[in-house]
């Protein structure tokens, strides 16, 4: 996937980007579920840190 720099002086905010991603499709919601799962694993000390969104994750068009 091509990395595109955000062309703006703004910090869009992770929350607002996440909201747009999950509104986009069910696949976006899957990203959110995986985030929650990762946080749960961290909370249960089964994982050392919160993982970022995998690069291969795509929201279907």
């Amino acid at each position: 996937m091509v990395h595109v720099t955000v062309w703006a002086y703004l910090d869009p905010g992770a929350g607002s980007m996440a909201l747009q991603a999950i509104l986009a499709s069910a696949a976006g919601s899957l990203v959110l579920i995986r985030l929650c799962w990762n946080r749960l694993l961290v909370a249960l000390r089964l994982r050392s840190k919160v993982a970022s969104v995998p690069e291969s994750t795509e929201v279907s068009r």
Partner: protein, 463 residues
């Protein structure tokens, strides 16, 4: 960045373009990147459509470059710059609608917008105008809207605050130049508010996601593919939300002033004749009607002025005036929420990013009708200070002095210890003479109100 030009003190956040002034003309330098976006914008149909409708600022590219900029644009000049915290609810909502309408049109032609700032909109009368041309950017592929959070902070949250909680947004926006943050608005809404337009998605869910994603790297969602349809859906969803937000002005002190306390018809007619005689002398570029209430006198002088600012501290009176002007005109009156005893200050970076109103548009003529008792008695401003403010604000003034025997002044003094020894017609005329030449004086029928047309001693008489 080129330094030799006279740059606008509020135009610096976006490094790739900047506004400057040349002999009163508004110009904008573009770097090479911004130029490619402008070249793309010029080829779109929506740009020409919105420009011809007077909803997008008229712009053309100049042949000669300036300093180190790759290109220079020249923009149509806005009559008077105003800020979102001077607008009423209806104005902020209509500005939000235009912003979203322009964004939707841009998305349909392969462009997007880099931000969602309310400062990107200005007014020609009561017609909103989108002015920030470099906001339009080419998109190689559909992406989430980077300006969404800023749009919420500048438009949606202030509108929600007023529509759902009846809290005036102006003081909040004035206190936070980048708008109402999600963290500041979230405690005002709970899960019982999910049925209210805009709350569930844009406040509660977004706040939950913000907390959930707080520990993530900032670019976590940057490479998540996004569809054109999803981008359009978000904008249409926002448009529907904004359309469903309403606020009905209730009876404030001033919004129904004329119906509640009508003064004698003969006095009203004499007052209108006096103001019309002043307005008719010559056409003026800018007139302020301070304490405009229903805008009766702003309307009266509007045919003899390029622009009239109708100013009142009461947001509800301004809301009613705005809606009336939208329906019936005229189109050269800009209504603004403005309190002379607590005026819009210079704000932002170095106190120069957002300027005072007098700095944005000094009037040739100022109307201060039925204002003095509110400033001197309710506002506790010494009479001499009030006269000094008039003289410093405009070359010419029409000011009304209202005697203590008038019912309105009496009403203000009831229940208060009378510390206003300076509120006296002789002292008023003494201070007036100190700063002004008297051009005309007339006692209105009823005998409690006197009108003065005066010219500041600091200026020469017009030819």
């Amino acid at each position: 960045m080129p330094q030799s030009l006279s740059y606008d003190s509020g135009s610096f956040r976006e490094r790739s373009s900047r506004v400057f002034y040349v002999r009163g003309r508004v110009r904008r330098g573009l770097d090479a990147t911004a130029l490619t976006h402008w070249q793309r914008l010029e080829t779109t149909t929506f740009y020409h459509r919105f420009t011809s409708q007077g909803r997008l600022v008229a712009t053309h590219r100049l042949d000669e470059p300036a300093a180190d900029w790759a290109a220079v644009l020249e923009h149509q000049r806005v009559p008077v710059v105003s800020y979102p915290y001077e607008w009423c609810f209806g104005m902020l909502r209509d500005a939000a609608r235009l912003h979203l309408e322009v964004l939707e049109a841009a998305l349909q032609e392969g462009m997007s917008m880099s931000d969602g700032s309310a400062f990107n909109l200005q007014w020609c009368g009561v017609q909103p105008l989108f002015i920030d041309v470099p906001s339009f950017i080419r998109q190689d592929r559909p992406r989430p809207w980077t300006g969404y959070r800023q749009f919420c902070q500048h438009f949606l949250y202030p509108l929600l605050l007023q529509a759902h909680r009846q809290v005036p947004f102006q003081p909040w926006l004035r206190g936070q130049l980048d708008g109402l943050s999600l963290n500041s608005i979230r405690p005002l809404f709970g899960w019982r508010d999910v049925v209210r337009p805009g709350v569930a998605l844009h406040v509660l869910l977004q706040h939950a996601l913000q907390r959930l994603c707080a520990a993530l790297p900032r670019d976590s969602f940057q490479d998540v593919a996004y569809s054109h349809t999803a981008a359009l859906k978000l904008v249409r969803r926002l448009r529907r939300t904004v359309d469903r937000l309403h606020w009905q002005p209730y009876r404030s002190t001033w919004s129904h002033y004329e119906q509640r306390l009508p003064y004698a018809e003969a006095a009203r007619q004499a007052k209108e004749a006096f103001v019309w005689a002043v307005a008719s002398e010559r056409r003026r570029s800018l007139v302020w009607d301070v304490g405009c209430n229903t805008g009766r006198f702003a309307r009266l002088v509007s045919s003899r002025a390029d622009t009239v600012l109708a100013l009142d501290a009461d947001a509800q009176a301004i809301e009613i005036l705005y809606q009336t002007l939208r329906q019936h005109g005229p189109d050269n009156i800009l209504p603004l929420v403005y309190d002379v005893t607590d005026p819009t200050p210079a704000l932002g970076w170095r106190n120069a990013e957002r300027r005072t109103l007098i700095d944005r548009g000094r009037p040739e003529l100022l109307l201060a009708l039925a204002l003095i008792h509110h400033v001197v008695i309710s506002g506790n401003i010494p009479l001499s200070e009030f006269i000094d403010w008039l003289a410093d604000s405009a070359d010419e003034t029409v000011v009304e002095f209202i005697d203590r025997t008038d019912a309105m002044v009496h009403h203000l003094l009831v229940g208060r210890s009378d510390i206003f020894a300076d509120y006296h017609p002789r002292l008023f005329e003494h201070h007036l003479d100190r700063r002004f030449h008297l051009l005309r004086r007339e006692v209105l029928p009823g005998g409690t109100r006197t009108l003065y047309h005066v010219r500041s001693r600091a200026v020469e008489a017009p030819l």
